[in-house]
């Protein structure tokens, strides 16, 4: 019962924040709504017993990426953009495409309702050392090469970001 209440609270926060992000006029308001949405998703991570990802979501997404977004909003003059049209001229087609996708998902959902009937309330087995330690065991033992590739990707992203944003190298 308590779990359901918390789930619906976090889910409402996530969805409402996302909807406001795509509908608000001012980009700063969009960013603040996105922060609310990311916070709701972080709460859902906590409910799914992914404590490490909860912390990563708060520190990295809300603390890091959103500050980056707000810096760029500050650098780019958006006051003129906020007064203009916010949606494409082709927006009905886009909404129709999204509606079609939703209908497709719903159709498959209803068709496969029996296979998707997952066992309710699966309690994860408590692991020795908690979520962070067991996650580190999996990450550094079985997924070491992808982990190193990810660090390479981040290096390339750093260099690329500086290259793109700088006026003259």
């Amino acid at each position: 019962m308590t779990e359901a209440v918390f789930f619906y609270c976090f889910a409402a926060l996530a969805v409402a924040g996302a909807v406001l992000t795509v509908t608000m006029r001012n980009a700063v308001h969009c960013a603040i709504s996105l922060i609310a949405s990311l916070g709701g998703v972080a709460g859902l991570y906590l409910m799914l017993s992914a404590e490490f990802l909860f912390a990563v979501q708060i520190v990295l997404y809300i603390g890091g990426i959103m500050v980056l977004f707000l810096f760029v909003i500050m650098l780019v003059n958006l006051e003129a953009a906020a007064r203009e049209r916010q949606f494409h001229r082709a927006w009905p087609g886009a909404v129709a495409c999204a509606g079609g996708t939703a209908a497709l998902i719903a159709w498959f959902w209803l068709r496969g309702a029996d296979t998707l009937r997952l066992p309710p309330g699966v309690q994860p087995t408590p692991r020795e050392g908690g979520n962070v330690e067991s996650l580190a065991m999996v990450l550094f033992r079985e997924y070491l090469v992808p982990f190193e590739l990810a660090s390479l990707l981040l290096l390339v992203a750093i260099v690329g970001g500086v290259m793109m944003a700088k006026k003259r190298i």
Binding site: S37, L68, F69, L75, H88, A98, P124, A165
Partner: protein, 103 residues
């Protein structure tokens, strides 16, 4: 009395978030809001991965979510750099005004 929360609840929520993000990408003109919509979509994917990981009682879902977050960070950094370069050269943040390669 509310029904107990199952994995299917998380999957439905993830689908809703994904659709909201897709609508944002397809309809908005502002590039910054487009990138925020991409972040919403990646978050929906993460919810899906972690929900299935918990359903199967495996940690691989969370490991994949870490990689997804990593790619999202790289995308945001490079994308915002491109955005600054774009604004410097074209003085616009609207995607429908950037039509040099359009026939």
């Amino acid at each position: 009395m509310l029904a107990p929360i199952t994995t299917a609840h998380y999957l439905v929520l993830s689908a809703i978030l994904l659709l909201v993000g897709v609508i944002g990408i397809l309809t908005r003109r502002n590039v910054i809001v487009l990138m925020m919509s991409i972040e919403i979509i990646l978050n929906a994917v993460n919810v899906n991965l972690i929900a299935f990981g918990r359903n199967l009682d495996q940690l691989e879902g969370q490991v994949f979510a870490i990689f997804v977050i990593c790619v999202a960070v790289a995308e945001a950094a490079v994308g915002l750099g491109i955005l600054i370069a774009l604004f410097r050269n074209r003085e616009t943040v609207h995607v429908d005004e950037i039509d040099l390669l359009k026939w």
